[in-house]
């Protein structure tokens, strides 16, 4: 069983993000973490390998600190890593990013691709299904339970009105959701190994991609500017004892705000 995990290094939830100038760029505090949902993908890949044997490869796209997610993967126990390391890969929309990643996956035969249901920075949730379509594979989104047997994956997903269980033949793409597993904490030995690991890199040329197809240049959707979220005005406290405050709150919600 050869498994590929797509993972991303993202700003930590607590990282300060500031909009610069008139909204043309962001300044992000240098505090990073593995995107939450990708941790479930890494963990599940390792568990499947422990049961069925094979190899796990983790792939990411980015320069600078992006490599850290690969080191985390190695520390957790993955066998191989690949960094798509070139300026031309950067700043892409879902489409351009999924195109690059799908080419990187296609370099070697694999049975299963796992990635988080969305990266918690861009919050697009597009890359998993798009990679599947680029590779002509089925996918199952937001899975909370996976069983691999006889060349098939049986996967359970939470949907708005309940849960569904579907079966797909391998190779397939699964996107992972909270509830799937409890990601392991890397052991010191693993961390040491990860620090020393030589990580292979790929350029657009290595993947047969023209720089104009990928990253910002290849994006179909463009970010025109960044805006601050709407600020709520200062909270209005409703005074009084519990029954009094409760009655006043109900009055406001019904008569003033008209939301009940």
């Amino acid at each position: 069983m050869n498994i590929v995990v797509l993972a991303k290094h993202v700003p930590d939830a607590e990282a300060l993000i500031e909009i610069k100038g008139t909204g043309e760029k962001l300044e992000i505090e240098q505090k990073f973490a593995v995107s939450l949902f990708d941790e479930f993908a890494l963990e599940e890949a390792l568990r499947i390998r422990e049961r069925l044997g094979g190899r796990v490869k983790v792939i990411t796209l980015g320069t600078g600190k992006a490599i850290e997610v690969l080191r985390t993967g190695i520390a957790m126990g993955v066998d191989e890593a690949l960094l798509l390391d070139h300026e031309a890969f950067l700043g892409g929309d879902g489409y351009a990013t999924a195109l690059s990643l799908s080419r990187a996956i296609a370099k070697e035969a694999c049975d299963l691709v796992l990635c988080g249901k969305q990266a918690v920075d861009d919050d697009r949730g597009e890359v998993g299904p798009m990679v599947a379509q680029f590779l002509g594979l089925p996918h199952v989104g937001s899975v909370v339970k996976v069983d691999i047997a006889e060349g098939r994956a049986t996967a359970e997903s939470l949907v708005e009105d309940g849960r569904v269980v579907v079966e797909v033949p391998l190779p397939a793409v699964l996107t992972t959701q909270k509830g799937l597993n409890e990601p392991r904490v890397p052991l010191v030995m693993g961390v040491m190994k990860a620090m020393k690991a030589q990580i292979p890199r790929a350029t657009p040329e290595d993947l047969g991609l023209d720089p104009n197809q990928i990253g910002l240049a290849g994006s179909k959707v463009r970010i025109r500017r960044y805006l601050p979220p709407k600020k709520r005005s200062q909270v209005q406290f409703i005074a009084g004892d519990a029954p009094g405050a409760a009655a006043e709150a109900v009055r406001i919600l019904i008569d003033v705000e008209r939301v009940i």
Partner: protein, 326 residues
């Protein structure tokens, strides 16, 4: 005139809320004379429902195929992309529901076009259309555009108002997808539905969420009682979900659901950033907490500093009185 396709998601004999919002927006757009609206439904859809949808759109296209009887991302994406190639729309709109976010990215690849997922505001009359979508869990908004056609847009449920339909029914056209054998590899094995009447958090107008301040799982009945009086849905914070007091599907926040109800009540919720990321686009927020310095008050419209075990039941009683349901 620009053609706009709306993928209308149905469930049983109803149109899902996100789709109904888009149909309402579309009716307004059609009135400007700049857009021609077509609603697209896929798979098993009752004729009466197609008729109801046609009150919003001048044309309803119903795509059928034995391979579309159950939802699969492969089948739905092939069907919609194939129709879009014929109809050549400027935009394809859909609700940013689980289904919409699952298969529309595949449509984007099939049509080699752009997609904006989870949009929370739109200016349809700009050229090109400008859309707003939150990133970094809502800490920042991005204004995005796509010059090329078509452009796929997924809007977050509870973003637009639902208006009543027109009186004139539109044309209903049935189209056979003729999906090639073997094009759908996904097989649906089972589907377990939630009890009827439970509105999903992402579609709820009113949400009352409990946190650690509830002290014990059984105390959530206080919130259930409150929600029952006003037709709300009960949510939960990460810590109470991780403690197994509530199910994962009830979780609001970064690792749970992102919600935009008209009214969000946070009872016994401290206001961790992970939680705020899931509810900050709510219209009115009422926070109830014993601690006057709780962070949740920074993100609330109204606050009550008090004991939720007294305040919430008192609100329930008051609501019963006001709404005459007690």
């Amino acid at each position: 005139m620009d053609r706009v396709l709306i993928f209308v998601e149905t469930k049983g004999d109803e149109v899902k809320k996100g789709s109904l919002e888009l149909l309402s927006e579309a009716r307004k757009l059609a009135q400007t004379g700049r857009f021609a609206i077509e609603a697209v439904v896929i798979g098993k859809v009752a004729p009466s429902l197609r008729e109801a949808i046609s009150l919003y759109a001048e044309k309803v296209v119903h795509i059928v195929d034995p391979l579309l009887d159950a939802y699969t991302p492969e089948g739905y994406s092939l069907a919609l992309a194939d129709y879009a190639r014929t109809s050549q729309p400027r935009m394809i709109l859909a609700g940013a529901t689980q289904v919409g976010r699952d298969f529309l990215p595949r449509v984007a690849v099939l049509l080699e076009c752009g997609i904006a997922s989870d949009v929370t505001a739109a200016n349809w009359l700009d050229n090109p259309v400008t859309l707003v979508r939150p990133v970094y869990g809502g800490k920042v908004l991005t204004e995005v555009v796509c010059e090329e056609s078509p452009f796929l847009v997924l809007t977050r449920p509870n973003t637009f108002d639902i208006t009543s339909p027109g009186e004139k029914t539109g044309e209903v056209v049935e189209r056979h997808a003729s999906l090639p054998a073997g094009s759908v590899k996904t097989r649906m094995l089972r589907r377990e539905e939630k009890p009827k009447g439970k509105v999903d958090l992402t579609e709820a107008d009113i949400i009352v969420t409990g946190g650690r301040g509830l002290k014990a799982p059984e105390n959530f009945t206080i919130l259930e009682d409150f929600a029952a009086v006003i037709g709300g849905t009960v949510g939960a914070t990460r810590s109470v979900v991780d403690a197994k007091w509530r199910d994962q599907e009830d979780q609001v926040g970064k690792s749970g659901k992102t919600v935009s109800p008209k009214l969000y009540i946070a009872a016994g919720v401290s206001g961790a950033i992970h939680h705020i990321m899931g509810m900050d686009t709510s219209k009115v927020v009422l926070a109830i907490n014993r601690d006057p310095n709780a962070i949740i008050f920074n993100y609330a419209t109204y606050g009550i500093v008090g004991d939720l075990f007294e305040v919430v039941p008192a609100m329930t009683a008051e609501l019963k009185k006001r709404l005459g349901r007690g």
